[in-house]
């Protein structure tokens, strides 16, 4: 009974991975065994370096901002919004952006960021911002900000909802006992709630790290990696190498590096993760 699904996954997911190893060990166009040529070439690839730097900035800022904002908001809402109706409203507010397709989220923000029509520049103009407003998608710094803002907008709610659910699981009598003992808000967070949240924080961090590392969809809609290579993250760079330059060999080698990174993260955390999940 188990054989069918396992066989299915082996052909659709695992076979391609093996094939990627084979591709990565061959010369581009010429074929033939290339040894580690493709893997070593990565160290001389200047564009890869730029892409890695952009990816690092993106991952660190997106994961950091999402986790901090989500955590602060979860604690704040847990303590102040007590009514069932209020909590349902907050839940609905945050579940909708999360289930919006990333391509649609890209369209939504594209409409806000278009220089002439975009509502943001109109607002800025109204506030007396000089000139024709900000070039949200075509100046390097702002392009990074724009793609980051979509990620935070879509996925801070995920962090919030997970941690909020975690806080709701803290037994009420534990909190009350602490309050009787005179614990203030900060002590209550540090000494009780954080202990309950720790496994969920790890889960959120791992999920957001692996997801931001492979970010593709909304960037493709907003900036397509530009201007220049300012937002050409790892997946967009791989896409270019593999499908614009059709160098599947080098792209496979880079892909294998990514698998190694993600596997290490997974191996380090999976014990704690599956303890939490199972």
């Amino acid at each position: 009974m188990l054989a069918a699904p396992v066989l299915f996954l082996l052909t659709v997911v695992v076979y391609p991975l093996v094939y990627a190893i084979e591709l990565s060990l061959q010369y581009y166009r010429l074929g033939g065994f290339a040894g580690l040529h493709n893997f070593l070439f990565a160290f001389h690839d200047r564009l890869l370096g730029e892409s890695l730097r952009a990816t690092l900035v993106y991952v660190v800022l997106a994961v950091g901002v999402e986790c901090v904002l989500g955590l602060v908001l979860a604690v704040a809402v847990q303590r102040t919004v007590r009514s069932a109706l209020g909590r349902t409203l907050v839940y609905l507010l945050f579940i909708v952006p999360m289930v919006t397709p990333p391509v649609a989220a890209g369209v939504i923000f594209r409409l806000m960021y278009i220089p002439e029509y975009g509502i943001l520049n109109v607002l800025l103009h109204g506030l007396g911002y000089p000139g024709r407003g900000i070039l949200w998608m075509s100046s390097p710094g702002m392009a990074m900000f724009s793609v980051l803002s979509v990620d935070v907008w879509q996925w801070m709610p995920f962090v919030f909802l997970v941690l909020f659910a975690g806080l709701s699981a803290v037994p009420g009598d534990v909190i009350e006992a602490a309050e009787v003992d005179g614990a203030g808000g900060w002590a209550r967070f540090r000494q009780i709630e954080l202990a309950y949240l720790r496994p969920l924080l790890l889960l959120v961090l791992v999920f957001r790290f692996t997801d931001t590392l492979r970010v593709f969809d909304h960037v493709q809609v907003l900036t397509m990696g530009g201007p220049g290579s300012a937002t050409e993250f790892l997946s967009l760079y791989l896409y270019k190498i593999a499908f614009k330059f059709s160098n599947l060999n080098y792209a496979s080698a880079l892909a294998i590096y990514v698998v190694i990174i993600v596997s290490v993260v997974f191996a380090l955390t999976s014990r704690y993760l599956s303890e939490e999940i199972a």
């Binding site: 188990l2 069918a4 699904p5 396992v6 299915f8 996954l9 659709v12 997911v13 391609p16 991975l17 990627a20 591709l23 908001l73 704040a76 303590r79 102040t80 919004v81 007590r82 109706l85 839940y91 609905l92 507010l93 945050f94 579940i95 909708v96 999360m98 289930v99 397709p101 391509v103 649609a104 369209v107 939504i108 594209r110 409409l111 029509y117 109109v122 103009h125 907008w153 909802l161 997970v162 659910a165 496994p199 889960l203 791992v206 999920f207 593709f216 790892l234 593999a242 499908f243 599947l248 792209a251 496979s252 698998v259 596997s263 997974f266 999976s270 993760l273 599956s274 999940i277 199972a278």
Partner: protein
């Protein structure tokens, strides 16, 4: 049957609302004398701050959707008025008509529908084939744990990594630009969370239900179809809805494995509006509205399970 409500004695104090009843209760009951202390005032200040932050966030989350909807309802002429109108003066569905009915994109809508439904069918059948034995049959614990953790690890596999060899494989197999390729791949990648979800639902159905049927002489097969499957239907529905929504939203594989309207999905249709030389904003917005509407509507139905599914059951929530 509902337990009889406890009525207050005549003339006595009114009964307190039951716990969890949707009644707006402003905070936990606080003894009146504590309200005027410094802590009380700070509490109210903090409450005000949080509520206004939530109000600000509501604007940040609702306005972008509103702006997309408003743009999609504008006639092309009105796109260029300065300053832009907040809500169209002459709302029209012309953009939807041109993009969907007149254009080629209704075919993409149909493609997406076929792909999503087929993905749900394949993924749920395969997921049952895993979830049933590991919860109902005597499977070695090591195998069960190994299988589940292997499935979990697939969740973290970056799609851009497998997409390159998958592209080569699909082309070699003659499945390039075919819906079948997308269906198989979407099913494979939604299998992990479908298994985890169904496993959770199966564990909540007591073994005794099935055992009773087996004792009565029903075959395991019959017990599965007649007894277990109907009891599992909420789980199947929730997992199906989420699988459908994820397949609907998928973009990268569709971008790489399709080339023509024969197999392109709706996500590709949305994206192609962005790449055109001169973007027709109202049509792009109309496509965005349709693209967002489908999963949002579906997942509001299954909203209790969204977080649980996305975290592989680590979070059980109620809403």
């Amino acid at each position: 049957m509902r337990p009889p409500a406890i009525r207050p004695a005549p003339g006595g104090p009114p009964a307190e609302p039951a716990a969890g009843a949707p009644v707006a209760a402003p905070g936990r009951p606080v003894p009146a004398r504590r309200v005027r202390t410094r802590a009380g005032r700070r509490g109210r200040l903090a409450r005000g701050a949080v509520l206004s932050a939530l109000g600000g966030l509501a604007v940040v989350y609702v306005f972008p959707f509103f702006w997309m909807l408003s743009t999609s309802l504008k006639p092309t002429r009105e796109l260029y008025t300065q300053p832009p109108t907040l809500w169209p003066v002459h709302p029209t569905v012309a953009a939807y008509r041109t993009a969907l009915v007149g254009g080629r994109d209704w075919i993409l809508l149909l493609n997406s529908l076929i792909v999503c439904l087929a993905t749900v069918g394949v993924a749920l059948s395969l997921a049952l084939l895993v979830a049933y034995p590991i919860t109902r049959l005597p499977v070695p614990a090591g195998l069960r744990r190994g299988l589940l953790s292997w499935l979990l690890s697939l969740r973290f596999l970056p799609s851009m990594v497998v997409v390159i060899p998958i592209f080569a494989t699909v082309r070699a197999a003659g499945l390039y630009d075919r819906l079948l390729a997308l269906i198989l791949i979407y099913a494979a990648f939604s299998l992990p969370f479908a298994v985890w979800m169904l496993k959770g639902f199966l564990l909540e159905i007591p073994m005794e239900v099935e055992e009773a049927a087996l004792v009565d002489g029903a075959s395991r097969w019959r017990a599965f179809f007649r007894i277990l499957l109907p009891m599992l239907s909420p789980g199947l529905l929730a997992a199906g809805v989420i699988t459908f929504a994820l397949a609907w939203s998928e973009f990268l594989y569709a971008l790489i494995l399709t080339a023509t309207p024969r197999s392109q999905t709706f996500s590709i249709g949305v994206w192609s509006f962005v790449t055109e030389f001169e973007i027709i904003w109202n049509q792009m917005a109309a496509m965005g509205v349709v693209s967002a509407l489908v999963p949002v509507a579906l997942l509001l139905l299954a909203r209790r399970y969204v977080i649980s599914a996305l975290t592989f059951g680590a979070v059980r929530e109620k809403a």
